[in-house]
Amino acid sequence: MFRLLVPYMLFVGCWLVVSLAVAGYGTVDHFLYIVQFAGLLGIVAAGQTLVIVSGGIDLSVGSLITLSAVVATQTSFAAHFPFPAAVMLGLLVGAAFGVLNGIGIGIIKIPPLIMTLATLTIARGTALLVTNGSPHEVRDPGFQSWVVKPGLLGINGILQSWIVISLLVIFLMSRTTYGKKVQFLGSSPKATVYAGYNAKLLTLGVYVLSAVLSGFTGILLIGFTGNSYLGMGDSYSLLSIAAVVMGGTSILGGSGSYIGTIAGALLLTLIAAVLTLFQVSGGGQMAVEGAILLLLMMAYATATRSRD
């Protein structure tokens, strides 16, 4: 419970302080803006949560975001695919890399860190081949306005997707046998196999889900920024792991929840927004986020130990 409460309390606390200190921050509009923006990170971090709970780690999410985005834009722009087909293709390419991760980690038993590092590199190289290094605009006004402009319930496409994905992932993790098995796999891979569960299939599942969710984030990102370029998703690899760990999920696997990760994503986004407001540069933001991540991890570790 401590691990769930802390990130939410931190988020609310930060929010209150900033609202009182900075004019214009306390409004509903601004809150909505932060939440919508956090959706991008939140969706990638959903896949990352599943992977980390299963006892793995996925460093390739950032590259897969970029790859799906550039595949979708290139096929619609250069090959004149209709936009929905291009999006499907982008997601499929992402999913293929997820299958690759799953095979390497689940069947060949390559350590997750190394396997996803390899796919990260290969996906980045593929993105370079697809684009030849030049950024491209996206021209699909309908999609872009769905992503950015308030629609159903006054919220934009990012937040709509995030809400749906959150509900699905929370349901998957807490109400289905698959979710429970993934948790078992994280706490003891050996026992999972002895219990007769198919560890290979479970592993494949989490990495494919993570890859598809990254791909989806990439698609949302091109709607949000209006173009795609190399490296556009890179920062999400670290940030998604940070969001998961801040949300109280154990990096060793076996326990954790997406509800915590949501708070982690909100907190990270709020911190970045506040630091931007105070004109702290990208580097400064990264350093502050790293420091907060470290402090939270230490707090969780000490709290867990004193309870034992």
Binding site: P111, I122, G290, A291
Partner: protein, 312 residues
């Protein structure tokens, strides 16, 4: 009989990575004999020494069954510190850079050892802090004017490239460290942390030492990078985190700890670097470099995983 025994003994202490290293080097020499000229050797050495140092940094922590995701950030921060303080501190800025890196390594090591958080997340967080700091100090790359640094790294007055001599010096120091008390601590901890603990070895101290050592090696790599490019750049070293892990796998270190040598690390770096060279020489577009590196890593780790499985 005696000879075959001797050969077997040599084979036993030679890392497996020497075989592919020798093969790729031979292929490279056949394809492009010019690398055997003084200039060719210097270029090759400049290219490989930074990678070798980064791989050594990674190998150091892999031996104690941890991982260091901040190797790349440490290289960046080092070039930044060197570039921004060279004007006032001259060559002392190198010392400052190594010192700062060692402090960050100590910091990460203390948290890993005493708060008992897995090194992968601690160093992920510390890499954000280190890389962020580098960007704050130098948002834009900055040239280094001090010629001494460039001469120190790039030239080859003693026939052998200076960069190679730096690597030799580091390996010589490692030879002493390895057989010292700290070296024993490090290998014993990685081999089996529980029995190491049970036999009174300070697992904590071994981990701290490994992280400090890794940071120092990464910052030496950073100094060589700064010397060969004559710039301080807060993003120049980011790729080293990935390639250091790839090189460590190629070098035969086990991610289960306790196994891994610096000779192997150098051989791993050689395989990685020279293979990419060969691809270029064969006319493969540089656009394929990432894909090639990823596939090499994948092949190496698959082979090592398969080989270990058969042994068990």
């Amino acid at each position: 009989m005696a000879i075959s025994d001797r050969l077997r003994r040599i084979a036993a202490v030679t890392p497996l990575a020497f075989v592919p290293a020798a093969i790729v080097l031979t292929v490279n020499i056949i394809l492009n004999p010019r690398i055997l000229t003084l200039r060719g050797i210097n270029n090759l050495s400049l290219q490989l020494v930074t990678l070798a140092l980064a791989v050594m940094a990674q190998t150091m922590v892999v031996i104690v069954r941890e991982i260091d995701m901040s190797v790349g950030a440490m290289v960046c921060l080092t070039t930044v510190i060197v570039a921004s303080t060279m004007g006032t501190l001259h060559m002392f800025s190198l010392l400052l850079a190594v010192l700062v890196a060692a402090l960050f390594g100590l910091f990460a090591g203390l948290i890993v050892a005493y708060v008992r958080i897995p090194g992968i997340v601690v160093t992920l967080a510390s890499s954000m802090i280190i890389g962020g700091l580098a960007l704050v100090i130098l948002p834009q790359p900055m040239g280094i004017k001090e010629e001494t640094l460039g001469n120190m790294v790039i030239t080859q007055p003693l026939l052998l490239p200076n960069s190679l001599l730096i690597l030799f010096a580091v390996m010589l120091i490692w030879k002493f460290v390895k057989s010292s008390k700290i070296g024993n601590l490090i290998y014993a901890t990685g081999g089996n942390p529980f029995s190491a603990f049970a036999s009174g070895i300070s697992v904590e101290r071994a981990k701290i030492a490994a992280y400090v050592g890794s940071a120092v090696l990464a910052s030496i790599a950073g100094i060589v990078v700064a010397g060969k490019t004559m710039t301080g750049d807060a993003t120049i070293g980011n790729a080293y985190t990935l390639s250091s892990i790839a090189g460590t796998v190629l070098g035969g270190a086990s991610f289960m700890g306790g196994v891994g040598t610096m000779r192997g690390a150098v051989a791993g770096a050689l395989v990685l670097g020279v293979l990419v060279n060969i691809l270029f020489f064969l006319g493969v577009s540089s656009h394929y470099q990432d894909i090639a590196e990823g596939l090499i890593l994948l092949a190496a780790v698959t082979l090592s995983v398969m080989a270990n499985r058969e042994k068990v």
